[in-house]
Symmetry: C2
Subunit: 230 residues, 2 copies
């Protein structure tokens, strides 16, 4: 008889936004460029200095096409991408309006210039990004994960980044969290690691706190909870 | 009789993309969060840790509504913003389709949660972002500049950031460039400085080099230049 409240949908905008922030920071090499600016590297500017792949004209693959995956797709699309592919258990009706095409996991990996993980962590998605998956990606691919660290075989990712199997990765989630300070991912120029701030907007955290309070008050007053997990 | 070639339009996507990257890195505090992750701060995670303002539901003001300003507006709009305002000498027909509204400079400054400078540097725009302009912005405003450093009175910006007149700034351009390593802007948590990488995509620099070569070949062969500045 324990009732459980949750806060569905509250984090969608915040997480989709952070996904784009992380993708762009990784592809356009913002941490590296910022560091160069602060330490004297700016003086060596040349035509190809700090260049990275642009989103315009590329194929973007989104793994997991729920609320957040779709919100990411809508944002990505505005950057003049050529094609958005998605992999999801079931066909999503919203995909049509967005213009996203359902493909197999393997096809997504092979065709995408950017691979974005938005899938929830379940037994079937645990370490789905393993050595085999990274091996199927383009050598120029950028991998972005803002879902859960457990969807990735992290040792395989380190190896893929070190060997040039893929170009770069942006991670808001890792295994474990916090990631140990001596972890190799922190030392690689082609990896951007954020401390799980996907939902960290002022608005999202306020709305989350408010909805949680309303859930609790509802139970105390014997009312229907605004958001009960059933 | 000296003919001058240029490369118009080539940088639009790259610069608009970098503008979004810089805006999101500034608002969602990516450099600060990344630094915390690398240095042990992640262990202190709490609900409001590293929160910043989200774009959803906000008003975004774009100063200068040419090719790049419009490309920025199209991308910004996909982040579920409430309203896009622009300031430009003349009304732009493209604004209607984007859903952007022309306002005065003062109205834009007063109403915008994000103020983005995309205007070209001319006598009339030189240091248009001065003490007076920053004073008219919201205390919570974020200022982003990817056009030219000369559009900003940089000492006034430093003062506005230090005094809390505005919340934060993201700059891809400064005065001078490179910015001296001991400049106060490099030391402020609420300022992200990039080394003028707006156009630094692999595609844009390739296209730029190619178009330049075609311009030169055309002149050598006595043909019409594909892109001549007249």
């Amino acid at each position: 008889g324990i009732r459980i409240g949750h806060t569905p949908g509250v984090l969608t905008d915040a997480t989709a936004e952070l996904t784009l922030a992380l993708l762009l920071s990784t592809s356009r090499r913002l941490p590296e460029a910022q560091h160069a600016a602060k330490t004297g590297g700016w003086a060596n500017w040349s035509l190809t200095w700090m260049t990275g792949p642009g989103l315009a004209g590329t194929t973007v693959g989104i793994v997991g096409f729920g609320r957040i995956g779709q919100a990411v797709a809508r944002r990505v699309k505005s950057f003049s991408t050529a094609q958005i592919l998605y992999f999801n258990r079931s066909e999503r009706p919203e995909a049509k309006e967005i213009g996203a095409v359902k493909v197999t996991f393997d096809e997504l990996l092979a065709k995408s210039d950017f691979v974005i993980c938005c899938v929830s962590l379940e037994p079937s998605t645990k370490e789905m990004f393993d050595k085999c998956a990274f091996g199927k990606m383009k050598k120029t691919a950028i991998f972005v994960n803002t879902s859960r660290g457990g969807t990735v075989d992290q040792d395989a990712l380190v190896e893929a980044l070190q060997s040039g199997t893929i170009r770069a990765a942006g991670l808001d989630v890792t295994t474990p969290e916090p990631l140990p300070l001596d972890h190799p991912l922190f030392k690689m120029k082609n990896c951007v690691v954020l401390p799980h701030i996907g939902s960290a907007t002022i608005e999202a955290t306020n709305t989350m706190a408010e909805l949680t309070a309303k859930n609790i008050l509802a139970v105390l007053n014997g009312m229907e909870m605004p958001a009960e997990l059933k």
